[in-house]
């Protein structure tokens, strides 16, 4: 009986201690806040004391805390409210031995791409890219390359995009042609997505960073887009959307090197009756190295993408695939040497294929002013000319705030 009584007393002494933790914490917080208030009051009182000597700070280091800024601030403010406006000029000269190429050897201001980017409000940003391209020799057409809004403050760490944008398929498809590391585009992009070499359809995109115990970057993107790409899908007669998913995995190997591994998939109808489906899967693997201390002078990039396509036709199915492998080495602060190998089949053909090899030399007058020389040898098993040789000289130049290139 006595034992039970003692147990009862002990429980009553110690149990409330645990629950009172919360109360004690609240009290502590209150005391802290009171202390802060007392300090503020002390400051107010002392500042009203006249003639109190202060300790001289050692001179001669200037002690001005606030500097009167001259005229620049008004410019700065007006610049802050204006969107970031930039324009890239893409000038190309090429020679080719392809007889069937009606354009022949010529120069072209291939594209002038205007970028207008800004924050819309505390919740979103918007990006517009308007391209003026030389469609046929001497004739320019204006095209909205991208125009989309990105919502940055959605719940559950989501981000959403809506508008017309380059789809998140693989690695290169998101990059604008004047900003890529080659004059042309990898053959798989042209053969599977069309002459523009990009899948760029209006749609919506939602992306999320997937939490994982290793705190690694894993981003899942889901997109619903119009199925109007003419090469792999139903073209302008399309009556149904296509669906895309992309998983991006990013790893730091050392502080100097990284690997990115991505998986993409897209499915949509390739006919207007909505009876035939095309599926394309992609794998992208990119290795990058840049030693941090000598980072201005040395870097290396090795990038690969594989496309697998399964296209249903009325009576059969056509499976095809293609890939490219690209390497670029920085020789010096402004010199880069690289090369790309392409192998590509075609979505609607079970027999045709081509391969190509392109050595590339690049010189930067500055970050905003770049020259590139590329030789491309293409070998096809179809057409009247099985082998084609081309030489390209490219000069790209940028005005306006240099938007950072995605890694």
């Amino acid at each position: 009986m006595k034992a039970l009584y003692c147990l009862f007393i002990c429980t009553f002494i110690f149990l409330p201690l645990c629950f009172a933790e919360g109360d004690i914490e609240a009290l502590k917080k209150e005391v802290e806040e009171l202390k802060v208030t007392v300090e503020e009051l002390k400051k107010i009182v002392s500042s009203q004391e006249v003639g109190k000597p202060t300790i001289e700070k050692p001179s001669p280091i200037p002690q001005q805390a606030i500097v009167e800024k001259p005229a620049a601030p008004s410019r700065a403010i007006s610049q802050t409210l204006n969107p970031n406006i930039s324009i890239i000029g893409d000038f190309v000269g090429n020679v080719t031995d392809e007889e069937s190429n009606t354009e022949g050897d010529r120069f072209s201001l291939r594209e002038a791409e205007l970028g207008i980017q800004a924050v819309v409000d505390p919740y979103a940003r918007a990006d517009f890219f308007i391209g003026v391209e030389e469609e046929t020799p001497g004739e320019y057409k204006v095209d909205l390359e991208e125009g989309y809004i990105t919502a940055l403050t959605l719940p559950w760490d989501l981000q959403a995009k809506a508008g017309k944008f380059y789809q998140n398929f693989g690695k290169v498809n998101r990059i604008h042609r004047p900003e890529t590391s080659y004059v042309d585009s990898p053959n798989i992009l042209t053969n599977y997505f069309g002459e523009e070499s990009r899948l760029k359809e209006p749609g919506i995109s939602i992306s999320s960073l997937i939490p994982n115990p290793w705190d690694k970057y894993m981003e899942l993107t889901l997109e619903i887009l119009n199925g109007e790409n003419a090469m792999s899908f139903a073209g302008s007669n399309s009556r149904a959307p296509a669906y895309l998913a992309h998983l991006k995995n990013f790893f730091d190997i050392t502080e100097d090197s990284t690997i990115e591994l991505g998986f993409s998939g897209i499915t949509g109808f390739n006919d207007e009756r909505r009876e035939q489906t095309t599926n394309i899967e992609g794998i992208d693997l990119t290795f990058k190295w840049r030693p941090l201390k000598e980072g201005l002078y040395k870097s290396f990039q090795f990038q690969n993408e594989f496309f697998f396509s399964q296209r249903e036709e009325s009576d059969s199915g056509i499976d095809s695939f293609g890939f490219y492998s690209f390497a670029k080495y920085q020789l010096a602060r402004r010199w880069f040497v690289g090369g790309r190998y392409d192998y590509s089949e075609f979505p609607a053909s079970s027999v045709e294929h081509e391969w190509a090899v392109s050595p590339i030399l690049e010189f930067w007058m500055s970050e905003f002013n770049r020259l590139r020389l590329q030789y491309k040898h293409t070998d096809r098993n179809f057409g009247s000319e099985k082998e084609v040789n081309e030489v390209f000289l490219q000069w790209t130049y940028t005005l306006g705030p240099h938007r950072p290139e995605p890694y």
């Binding site: 147990l7 645990c18 200037p62 505390p122 970057y217 990115e260 000598e294 980072g295 950072p404």
Partner: protein, 311 residues
């Protein structure tokens, strides 16, 4: 009987003590763009903060590649501190991708360290890129004047107090202590540099105006006058002439630039190349903000003493 009660009492007391730990606040996660800011945040926050810097001290802070893994660091951060003045244009990509509203510009967790700092070389005329990669708002290397370090400490402390009001007293005490330490060190550094006041130097990049103003050096030329644009041979030739004419003995070079060109200039003129880090961690052994000045001042005094700098 009594034994069981005492054992029981001890167990309950111990569990009460341990349960107090459960209520201890987790560390405040801070991400800074540079190592100097990291060192200053740690001086204030000590064991109550966990700080990472995106750029390393031996890396050129203008050309940091914003990696997706850095976005993850920002996603989990309570506070983000940047140098500002357009030094870290690359950080905008990271903030946009972080999905962390706490650190968006304008929020309590987004700290621009430059507020109230003494800024130099604020452009007063029409600007364009013929001057290279210019900074529109003033020279961003302002942390190299230790008085500005004190301003940065005030900015960081103010925001830390808003992020974690319960620790305000702790942060303020540490901040005041570190400011006092900087003040004492300033007396020492100024005294060491006093004999060399007015010495003319050449620097690789224009990272040193605030440092030069604080310690009495005069920067008369640059190896790379237009930031981001490697200098043409004509400029190098006129720089060599300038060094000979002005009797410049020291060429200050940041650790992330190639020494080839400075060595060539030094050989042609009889001057000496001095590798000085503009940031904490730029050279091994330089681990704190005060340590950065200790190192740079001692190396300068040594070099100026040997080459007979202005006395």
């Amino acid at each position: 009987m009594i034994r069981w009660i005492s054992v029981f009492t001890i167990i309950m007391a111990i569990s009460a003590i341990f349960s107090m730990d459960v209520f201890a606040a987790p560390k405040i996660k801070v991400v800074t763009t540079t190592t100097d800011l990291k060192s200053l945040v740690e001086a204030i926050g000590k064991d109550r903060v966990e700080v990472t810097s995106i750029a390393k001290g031996y890396q050129d802070p203008h050309f940091v590649e914003a990696k997706p893994s850095d976005m993850i660091k920002l996603k989990n951060a309570d506070m983000f501190v940047k140098v500002g003045l357009d030094l870290e244009i690359w950080s905008q990509l990271l903030i946009d991708g972080s999905r962390n509203e706490k650190i968006f510009p304008g929020r309590v967790g987004h700290v621009d360290a430059s507020v109230g700092a003494r800024l130099l070389q604020i452009p007063e005329m029409k600007l364009d890129r013929s001057m290279g990669d210019i900074h529109l708002f003033g020279n961003p290397h302002y942390w190299l004047n230790p008085s500005n370090g004190e301003v940065i400490l005030e900015n960081i402390s103010r925001s830390l107090e808003q992020v974690s009001p319960a620790d305000s007293e702790y942060f303020r005490k540490n901040k005041d202590e570190y400011i006092k330490e900087i003040d004492n060190s300033i007396s020492r550094w100024v005294k060491d540099m006093e004999p060399y006041k007015g010495t003319k130097v050449v620097t690789y990049h224009n990272s040193w105006p605030n440092f030069a103003e604080a310690f009495g050096l005069e920067v008369v030329g640059y190896v790379e006058p237009k930031p981001g644009i490697p200098s043409p041979p004509t400029h190098i030739a006129s720089l060599i002439e300038l060094i000979k004419r002005e009797k410049v003995n020291i060429i200050i070079v940041e650790p992330y630039f190639s020494e080839k060109l400075p060595n060539l200039i030094a050989n042609s003129t009889g001057s000496r190349v001095l590798i000085l880090p503009p940031s904490v961690g730029g050279v091994k052994g330089v681990d704190t903000y005060i340590g950065l000045f200790d190192y740079n001042i001692s190396k300068l005094v040594e070099a100026l003493g040997e080459t007979g700098g202005k006395k």
